[in-house]
Amino acid sequence: MKTKVLSRRRFLRTAALVGGSLAVTNLVPAQVSAAAKNQFTSSYPAVSAQEKKLVSFWHIYTEEPRNKGVEAVISAFEKAYPEIKVEANAVFHQDAKVVFPNVIKTSRPPDVIQLRTTSLARISIDAGLVMDITEMYEEKGYDKRFGPLGDTADWKGRKWSIPFNLDQFPGVWYFKDVFEKMGLKPPTTLDELEVILAEFKKNNISAIWIGNRDRWHAPYMVEYLILRLGGVKTWKGLADGSAHWTDPEVVAAFEKFADWLNKGYFYPDMNAYDITDLYPYWTSDQIGMCGPCGPWAFENAKLAGRDADYFPFPVLKEGDPVVGIVNAEPFSISKNAPHPEEAKLLLDFLGSKEAQQIFMDITNIPMANLDVDVSNQPEPIQKMIKDAHTLPSVLGFDWDLPEAAFSVAQPAIQEFVADPTPATIAKVTKEIEDSVQKWLQQG
């Protein structure tokens, strides 16, 4: 039998041929199919997806009803601008903390992006990754459109975002029928609130719940107590470094929280529960109140067929200002947006009365645009919107504070609620203060 001898030249030639073929087969089908597609679509004169201008839109509305709301808004935009197609991408809000900072610094960032937390927005602006839209604000009169909520778009004297829906913690949610049955009235002062807490406790019902497994819920109670015992000045001071976590007003807020915890007013083991774990206990009257909670408490009560209402978090004494925690889920344009003009159109539409009306009608979530008609909304939602648009407000815990403070404060507060003693208060307030000071030193 004759053995076939493969020469070196033949081997190399064959290898080159095979390698080249592989490379070509990887490229050609895409080109051929694209050409074929173009030829195919060109035979149809109607506007095709390929001929439309694109605008990419990354947001955090992954869950119902928000996802339905945003889909309807996108449809309305595409109807208003038939030449533009929106490529939407929803990212779960916890994942967005990782995904959005990475995607915005690529060479092809999303045109419109929802930089949810203020700290991320600030850093992205400082890094030159967000478009300055101050001129849009002036040209379109956005200040009138959003009122005081337009201030949430400020950083270093310029405007960077438009507010959309409100992420609001108006106060404490309760069931009207339960309050009527127990002869209770919504409180206005902390002393009155304590009477209600004690009344629930007396009836062997956990008075109030916080689900702090994910670490963000209990900080809102701390924030409200600081606002009530130290005032807005103290809270804003904590945000800019002019006040200290070891100040007596702040320590007093922790002590008040500790007092309520030690008296057993809260549903126990709050660090073991996510908020969604505790709705069934609340809606089945094993817990009296949810607080401080956002409009999601109303949504879930409604799903359970209950009639919930809220009262603003009580003040220390009559006459004190009722300051709420309100922040907006804002949208920005990437500085390197591939389609900046289309992005501006989409951003303008997202801030419009039309878009925000569509979103609210589907979700019952309060919106930032002052002209949105709320007359068809349930009474508590109307009340929330009125409060958000008229009462003084501050941003939330992880929106207002420097990132060094809240990332240390979240586990520290978790530690505090598990062991609400004076020693723990001293430890956690010092820890948070030290982290802020270190952050300030680093500039």
């Binding site: 070196r8 903390k97 610094k105 890094a127 670490r215 073991a272």
Partner: protein
Amino acid sequence: MEKKGYFQAMQDWHTVLHSAVCRIKRDTYIWHLSSSTSILVGYLLMLPTVALVALFWWYPLLEVLYASFFNWDGLSPLQHFVGLANYRTLLFEDPYFWNAVKNTLIWSAMYVTIPVVIGLVAALMLNARIGGENIFKGILYLPSAISFAVVAFIWGWMYHPAGGLINQMLRALNLGVLAQPWLASNTFVLPAINIASSWVHVGFALVVFLAGLRSIPDELIEAATIDGASQWQTIRHILIPLLRPAFTVVLGWTLMLSVNVFDQINILTKGGPGRASEVLSIYLYVKTFLEHQAGMASAVGIIMFLLAAAGGILYVRQMISQEVTA
């Protein structure tokens, strides 16, 4: 046509592969390649793998090393060179870093021990050739195929303080006093998540140990029995020493996985309560994406790499020394 069994089919494949390899060896000779060309061909064949490893492993590693010398927020261009300041801060000023190191070491010790102990006991029992061996192996190995995220959710429900299976069972057995908020307890949280995470490797450990046990000649066991060794003495002085290669594989594998754990802890507690379950990977995530201190996080990553590399080197050295001994 005669229906072939699985092992027969495998044997046939082995024969085919063996003859193919021999043929390639022979053909290589026929190609009349010089030794230098042969070496060149060898390098060329290695090139794709080396390129991929360099691109997706060494390059990012060097980038992370470079970033660890900067004060960087993760978004701006790298500008503020700080030298070794990030390492100094971590090693000498940051108590949370050392807390994470301590938790990582505890975590790794438990993560390695649980599959090794349970896997070994199960392998010893199955080695007695009891009935239904394949069913047991299947049951114990199946969890390895489940994603860590799913496992975390399942155990999250089981650990639920009010309606969770574990506390419900304890209450049903009149042991309600032992019921705990497992994931909210500083004492129990790390063991609780560890059990939830490491049990999936029991099947892997079982299969490796069982293969090791089956490779031990029966004569050795018989000789020990004749010499009057008890069952425990046989296990202690014959089986376990001869299982050293299997131990190395299981320990090395679980150790590497333990250092890189993230999903389960992030889903179940995010490192809480407080910082009770914060391991290095969670700490790295917090530094990068919550505090936006990517330079510092890069330094954490490099330290994690050095820890894992130290473990890996010990593991490889152990493997090599065993091969030499064998």
